[in-house]
Symmetry: C2
Amino acid sequence: MRLLVIGGVAAGLSAASRARRIDRRLEIVVLERGEAVSWAACGLPYYIEGQVRDLDELILHTSEYFASQRGIQVRTGAEVAHIHHARREVTLTGGERVSYDRLVVATGARAGRLPGGGAAAPPVFTLQTLDEARRLKRFLEQGKPRRAAVIGASYIGLEAAGALRARGLSVTVLEAAPDVLGRHDPELTRRLARHLERHGVELRCQTPVQDVGSLGCDLAVVATGMAPNVELAAEAGAELGPTGAIRVDQHMETSLAEVWAAGDCAETTHLVTGRPAWIPLGSTANKMGRVAGANAAGARQRLAGVVGTSIVRVCGLAFAFTGLSAPDARQAGFEAVNARIEAADRAPYFWASPTSVELVADRRTGRLLGGAVTGEHGAAGRINVIAAAVTRRMTVDEFQELDLAYAPPYAPVWDPVLVAAQQLAKLLD
Amino acid sequence: MRLLVIGGVAAGLSAASRARRIDRRLEIVVLERGEAVSWAACGLPYYIEGQVRDLDELILHTSEYFASQRGIQVRTGAEVAHIHHARREVTLTGGERVSYDRLVVATGARAGRLPGGGAAAPPVFTLQTLDEARRLKRFLEQGKPRRAAVIGASYIGLEAAGALRARGLSVTVLEAAPDVLGRHDPELTRRLARHLERHGVELRCQTPVQDVGSLGCDLAVVATGMAPNVELAAEAGAELGPTGAIRVDQHMETSLAEVWAAGDCAETTHLVTGRPAWIPLGSTANKMGRVAGANAAGARQRLAGVVGTSIVRVCGLAFAFTGLSAPDARQAGFEAVNARIEAADRAPYFWASPTSVELVADRRTGRLLGGAVTGEHGAAGRINVIAAAVTRRMTVDEFQELDLAYAPPYAPVWDPVLVAAQQLAKLLD
């Protein structure tokens, strides 16, 4: 019995590793078209910025490790051209055929490409693979560029903008949508723009870019237009969902028998709206991969869904959110009420920095729908508490009572999330 | 209508301030026996260590502020000698009488005292008031002591030990109980002892101290034997609970009509056991005070209870816990199963430090009962997520699915709390 996994980064390797834990005798083969497996894509901006000195630091495990330690055969440079599901077989681009009994599709997503800007256009980079990062860094070191344009206020775009700014370049971020990070949240956009401005980075929203040549920059980084890699699965007959990504159920099963999908190529369910969502994040990818792998190996596990929790560090400050923004909540049919507070992130006498917390609730039920946190310290922990509360459908009153940790180096005696809940409770009264 | 509040620190001032919000016309009088009101008792160790340079930084608001901004009359140096509840009146130590219609008792707790050690004994300090902190700091600066003994591995004891060590003293912590921090948790004690040892502080548990003179030290800090200040309320007829603190219901009402109690002098309910608990912490005190004040002003609010979440920084490392330890859970009748993991607290390539997470669950139901986190970064946020889950009675399987924030500077792709939950889930299978 052979389990074949297409894709050897986050979801694919989570699936393969989990499958091995469930079934020690299964033959497991992973096909990765890139040069390396098990590497940390999220670390690329930190390689550009300099915290990560060598790309080898981002490689967690090698193919040899998977072979010898986990009994998983991982092939790099192996790009699948077609899935022939009727004969349980894939064809690689070189013509080689690989058969399977069960299949996990973890083909990921890709960044958009821009139409070529002509001979006069500056070099254009993406930041999706080790090789792309290497190329960009080499250009920064050798080409001595001064002005950079980042196309797309996505996670990778904003991290890249911070990295380029930290290296001394003048940076402009251009985003086609009205808001950043794919979230309909003008308040978040406003705060991020102000923070970037303070660090000398210009953010222009509602500014689609047609021609990189017109930007007057020495290089451009394209970090926009992410799309799920669904072509292989779709061609094989797997249904796509309303988001355009591969449709899966809670068990990560696709519409094809014995085919699971996980990670950035597949949909998941948003637990607040109950609707399909496409949330291409590393944390979600690993969770989905783990469930897909378990089930492909014969277990019966599930992932009910996610609440879209995420965090990004931009020029030293964390921007985090979870659940629905107020505008998104209204669009989903909730009667959204929101409150936002600014508070010290620790005891005021303990080198506190300001942190901002926003909470969103449904007026009819008092249920917490989402939140956002910005701050230098503790933002991850605070957004995670809100995420847990949103997941468990806590009301604002219940949330207010939470017994959170207090000590001067870590939080004020009323944690900012509780202060925000108190404010929101007043509006709901 | 006069609301009288006895005690002007955490719970008392939370109560007075909240009562003012609810009822603008109520007359509110706060009697505080100390020299200052609204000051941060939790900041005293940081004054000893030096982060807080001046005790004035710890004073949040003055009596004048409360009078002019909140219409609350706060009297310092006003010690209540008796409550005569039948005539709705208290007597101060100087003989003055103050009448009331409604009363909030927020008399706090006190540190234990040791029997005098004779003329040869070193000076003994406590660290409960501004004046005590001033005395200790003066002695450290003028007396040039070299060896300190800290009696009691309580929060304040451990913080004081860290502060004294940071000032260059040789420090020994002596604790009468087998474990630290009033929690039955040998694993926590072991980790804390090892950490202290690494920083040159010796921790001796099961070592009751009778005679400070025998310790061979130049000064002793007593931080043990905390007891609730219940005498005034008890003499007035208020019932005490099984913990020895003042019994209150969810509305902070005592057994006496129109008398509420809050903070370190009163009990609360432990939400995991459902039983009365005495948990003298600043965060709990403020929550209880807020509810007591609201209700004393005519509202109807409640605090269902707490889960005993706490965190303390000892020599740079956070030790945090919530809910029940495995031994406490067994004693409370649960079939406790626990798992503990060590993991990187951020992406491994982002200057990660090790963090340790322990989770405790009930085998029969899979319900999460408690947890502990140790680490340099993110421990507060992680314990708070566990606290929210324990409060909402999540199972380990539900907890495992939580959608927590991931970005390299803040967490690894699998947050350590999720890794701990995966381990625990295996044991529950």
